[in-house]
């Protein structure tokens, strides 16, 4: 029998994201943190040099992480390792592919390298996840080859309000699309500034062709349960774990709440005795200071 083997097909790229569903992907900055995340039940880790709240505090240019640090984390854990490239910085993405990271996050948390263009993600074998604040953004990223979409939220704030807004925008947009007649889809594609074939697919299936996760501001088990009930298929947690008082317990609790999101008793039990959550930031103050990360790379 023929055994035609193909790598990096759309099914293989989205396939890993399918397997991350119902799970928590945690930001880690050291191999030690990666092990804590794995032991707490994380389904993947995001290797980066500084968590978003520190990037926000330090200012300056935030870039792809040191390859030595990424390798150290790959050696420390057996779960998938993701890493971030700057928006439009395809050479950083090439480096991450050479390092064999399992997923590349083309992320607004890092300083954008290109103000007009995102990375041509179809040119890569490693799959990409991209952030979105609304359906149009999500569809444009999928058109560019993203195999997974996450809400942008407002990273590093410990404030879930923006993630809620983005997730509601995306889900409501999908619902609206699926109610349109075929003659209305062309105008909808124009409105969303998105490729017509992706618009057709979403209208037809009533869901995105790739998994949809939440990111940006999750700090508590209840935040995680909220996002899952709003339609997220899994959660990214950045600063929320390792900027809290007791990262081990909080990490476990957020994993538990993501699995049992529809069981308030389990979420309540998981939420007891976690100590202080990360300190939160008010979005309106950031907006006034023109410091919102979500506006990068629409």
């Amino acid at each position: 029998m023929r055994q035609v083997t193909e790598r990096a097909t759309f099914r293989v790229k989205t396939g890993l994201a399918e397997m991350l569903k119902g799970g928590v992907i945690m930001d880690v900055v050291t191999p030690e943190q990666a092990r804590i995340a794995e032991d707490a039940g994380a389904c993947a880790v995001m290797a980066l040099e500084r968590v978003p709240s520190d990037i926000r505090r330090d200012g300056g240019v935030a870039r792809m992480s040191d390859p030595a640090m990424i390798k150290g984390i790959q050696e420390a854990v057996s779960i998938p390792v993701m890493a971030k490239a700057r928006i439009g910085h395809f050479a950083e993405a090439q480096v991450l592919q050479a390092l064999e990271v399992d997923y590349i996050d083309e992320s607004e948390v890092l300083t954008p390298a290109d103000e007009r263009h995102h990375i041509d993600k179809l040119a890569f074998e490693v799959p990409f996840v991209c952030g979105a604040t609304n359906l149009g953004e999500a569809l444009r990223r999928i058109g560019e080859g993203a195999a997974m979409i996450r809400s942008k939220g407002e990273a590093g704030t410990g404030n879930v309000v923006e993630a809620v807004r983005h997730m509601r925008e995306i889900i409501a947009g999908i619902k609206r699309l699926s109610q349109l007649g075929p003659e209305e889809l062309s105008a909808a594609a124009k409105e969303h500034q998105a490729p017509l074939e992706v618009v057709h697919e979403v209208a037809d299936k009533g869901r995105l062709p790739v998994p949809l996760f939440c990111a940006g501001g999750i700090a508590t088990p209840a935040d995680a349960a909220l996002m899952m009930q709003l339609g997220a298929e899994g959660n990214f947690v950045g600063s929320g774990i390792f900027k809290s008082a007791d990262p081990e317990r909080r990490a476990r609790a957020i994993v538990e709440a993501t699995t049992h999101f529809s069981d308030p008793e389990r979420v309540a039990a998981a939420s007891i005795g976690l100590g202080e959550a990360m300190p939160g930031l008010e979005i309106s103050e950031l907006a006034a200071a023109d410091a919102l990360l979500q506006d990068r790379g629409a």
Binding site: R2, M19, C43, T259
Partner: protein, 197 residues
């Protein structure tokens, strides 16, 4: 007899695609997160995902013994990818085999390939392998249904079916249909032996 009632372990991973596939084949399905969800099931699917995450969820949810009890009373099990690992002798011990985790490599080495599967006819089954394991060792009672590059990737022992790839991510329902046929005959056997679960 009524329709089969099949559970899909929904702690983490690709459980939704399994639910869709089983429903399309006419089974009644239920998401399983707690021991109570296992009651009355004819069979259980353990999906792909991260085996460490799923194993921890099984432990913390007190599901290990109830799943073994389901198997002992004649219920069937179908493990895919991480689910195959969870079934092996280093985890739930539902099958006399040991899986090697991420044996085919990282995501960059993930692939799809045509497989000849015992009992599914001449037409190849498209296997989608994601950071996939293979069967490193198996006992004499384990039947190898398919191999890739000389490594066993689909195996069966009694009422336990396990594969390293993801049939739920394709439109080909034959492996799920095989699992349902195994479940139907297991249920008939249980009924004829008078052991009403």
């Amino acid at each position: 007899m009524p329709e089969l009632l099949l559970g899909v372990l929904a702690i983490q991973g690709g459980f939704e695609a399994h639910l869709r596939m089983l429903r399309s084949l006419g089974a009644e399905v239920r998401e399983v997160r707690s021991p109570g969800d296992l009651e009355g099931l004819d069979g259980l699917v353990i999906p792909g995902g991260e085996s460490t995450t799923i194993s921890m969820g099984i432990e913390s949810g007190g599901l290990a013994e109830p799943i073994r009890a389901l198997r002992r009373s004649g219920g069937t099990i179908f493990g895919t990818c991480a689910g195959m690992i969870v079934c092996d002798d280093a985890h739930l011990g539902l099958i006399d085999a040991t899986a090697a985790r991420n044996a085919f490599g990282r995501q960059l080495q993930s692939f799809e390939a045509d497989l000849a599967v015992e009992g599914l006819g001449d037409e190849a089954l498209r296997g989608v392998f994601i950071r996939a394991p293979w069967i490193e060792r198996h006992g004499p009672g384990v039947e190898v249904l398919a191999s890739h590059e000389g490594r066993p990737v689909a195996v069966r022992e009694g009422g336990v079916l396990a594969c390293a790839f993801h049939p739920e991510l394709t439109d080909d329902p034959r492996l799920h249909a095989l699992f349902m046929a195994m479940t139907t005959s297991a249920r008939e056997r249980v009924v004829s032996e008078g052991d009403f679960r």
